[in-house]
């Protein structure tokens, strides 16, 4: 893990020495460079808050869509299937535009950029979360349900105490993946004016005319953010495993 990052850093520094680069634009040692950097980092809280809110909603939504998809009733399964197929077919950018510009016309309610972004990202991702949950729940052996039923547990208790705790352990890597994906997709919300990392970088490029340096910094911002998230997910995974192994 460490080696490629080190390699990347060295390559960037070496490249930075060549005459084509103008690092002054984000050099924290100069006053204007420090201001520019600060401006860019100002988008961080939006990116993080947007992604985290969206992933929380989409996980809950995904579970609520996955459960009827596993029902013995045909119409519930079909409803779940239809949702997944429909939502999965909409490109995320299109979903963002539709929710921000289209939905207010339909509903008559104005919607803030932040919530439009959250809703669009959460809806898009929920279809994938539903598929992940479905796969996880289906991987649990039938005997676990039978044992739960034989000690008089109802559907909700069986899911809550027997099936989901086991399923979630199995799908944790996939859920972590979705969180990383969400962080990256949040960059698309820049198109409706959400002042997150990508939007900030775009604005700076317009005033400073140094896209190479500014977008390189943007790449590094996402890289660091996602490395932190991956480390966090692995930590949770390890904890749950030791939990199980005692």
């Amino acid at each position: 893990m460490r080696r490629p990052i080190l390699f990347l850093a060295i390559m960037t520094l070496l490249a930075g020495c060549s005459s084509k680069w103008g690092w002054y634009v984000v050099n924290p040692a100069t006053k204007s460079g420090a201001i520019n950097l600060q401006f860019m980092l100002g988008g961080l809280k939006y990116t993080v808050f947007l992604s985290v809110t969206a992933i929380c909603i989409s996980v809950i939504l995904g579970l609520l869509i996955a459960l009827p998809g596993l029902s013995s009733r045909g119409w519930l399964r079909r409803a779940s299937r239809t949702y997944v197929e429909l939502v999965r077919a909409v490109p995320i950018l299109v979903m963002i535009l539709w929710v921000y510009y289209g939905l207010p016309q339909l509903s008559g309610l104005t919607i803030s950029v932040f919530w439009a972004g959250v809703i669009a990202l959460a809806l898009s991702d929920s279809a994938f979360e539903a598929e992940i949950f479905r796969a996880g729940i289906q991987s649990i052996a039938k005997g676990q349900y039978e044992a739960a039923h034989s000690i008089s547990l109802g559907y909700i208790d069986t899911m809550r105490y027997v099936i989901l705790p086991q399923a979630i352990r199995r799908i944790l890597p996939a859920l972590g993946n979705q969180l990383v994906y969400m962080l990256k997709m949040s960059s698309l919300v820049s198109v409706i004016g959400m002042p997150e990392l990508t939007r900030k970088a775009n604005e700076l490029v317009v005033s400073e005319y140094r896209p190479l340096e500014i977008y390189t910094v943007l790449v590094l911002e996402y890289l660091v953010l996602i490395l932190i998230v991956s480390a966090g997910v692995r930590w949770v995974e390890r904890r749950m495993q030791t939990d199980e192994r005692n």
Binding site: A141, G143, Q144, E146, A147, A148, H149, S150, I151, S152, L153, G154, D157, Y161, V162, P165, Q166, R169, E244, R245, N246
Partner: protein, 249 residues
């Protein structure tokens, strides 16, 4: 058929199909309170399906099943009433791998019976004592041997204080040296007056414990007899052939 006041389970003309395949063909059987019934027969004869019908893990298509006065008519409410009276032990143990042994035992009493954590733990430890593994309470199932896991599964079922216990080939997935510890616990349970239906190939156990032997083949009950008759003078040829195979290999 005269009504026996002590009958706790009654199957009347019960049939069940898996698609075109008829697994149970018009089964009639009654089990009295405190009776110990052992069902045997070749694999695929429908014996597992039969006992799984008792607590509604399988749904029968025709005929009636009455358990402790409740008719299993496919309704949720009847199913809940019956499951509260019936405990079950599976071939593959089916312990909850993410819960410790004692938590496996406490889950039913706490969630289905709304018992407090402390009471449930006390109850669980009492039953672990009874199956002689109290020292394993806080371990996870995977750290236990197969025989110990199956005894935990028995204790888990007993924690719900059932009136009837079903055993679906409880020793078939065990290494030979662990079979006896499980049979011992089952024998003690039989002596305590529990109503039991066991599907098993352990004929020594059957001979010692059973009040009634049931032989099934191709989805039918071929023969029902007390063990002393069943093992010495089986009436049907199919049953004689089966016993020949199972006792002399």
């Amino acid at each position: 058929m005269s009504e026996n006041p002590e009958t706790i389970i009654r199957f009347t003309n019960v049939s069940k199909n898996f698609g075109d395949f008829q697994v149970l063909k018009s089964i009639s059987l009654s089990v009295a309170l405190r009776e110990r019934v052992v069902i045997c027969g070749p694999s695929g004869s429908g014996k597992s399906t039969l006992i799984r019908c008792v607590n509604g893990l399988e749904q029968h298509q025709s005929g009636t099943i009455t358990v402790n006065g409740h008719v299993l008519d496919g309704s949720r409410s009847a199913l809940n009433l019956v499951r509260a009276d019936v405990g079950m032990v599976f071939q593959q143990f089916n312990l909850f791998p993410h819960l410790s042994v004692v938590e496996n035992l406490m889950l039913g009493p706490m969630r289905a019976r709304k018992m407090s954590h402390d009471d449930a733990r006390k109850l669980a430890l009492r039953y672990l004592e009874r199956v002689r593994i109290p020292e394993q309470a806080d371990k996870f199932p995977r750290h236990l041997s197969g025989g110990q896991q199956q005894r935990v599964a028995i204790a888990r079922a007993l924690c719900m204080e059932p009136k009837i216990m079903l055993f679906d080939e409880p020793t078939s997935a065990l290494d030979p040296e662990m079979i006896s510890e499980v049979l011992e616990v089952m024998g003690e349970l039989a002596n305590s007056g529990m109503t039991m239906i066991c599907v098993t190939h352990e004929m020594g156990f059957a001979r010692r414990v059973a009040d009634k032997m049931v032989f099934m083949d191709h989805g039918e009950i071929v023969e029902t007899a007390p063990p002393e008759v069943f093992f010495t003078a089986p009436k049907s040829q199919r049953c004689r052939d089966f016993l020949q195979q199972i006792l002399h290999h």
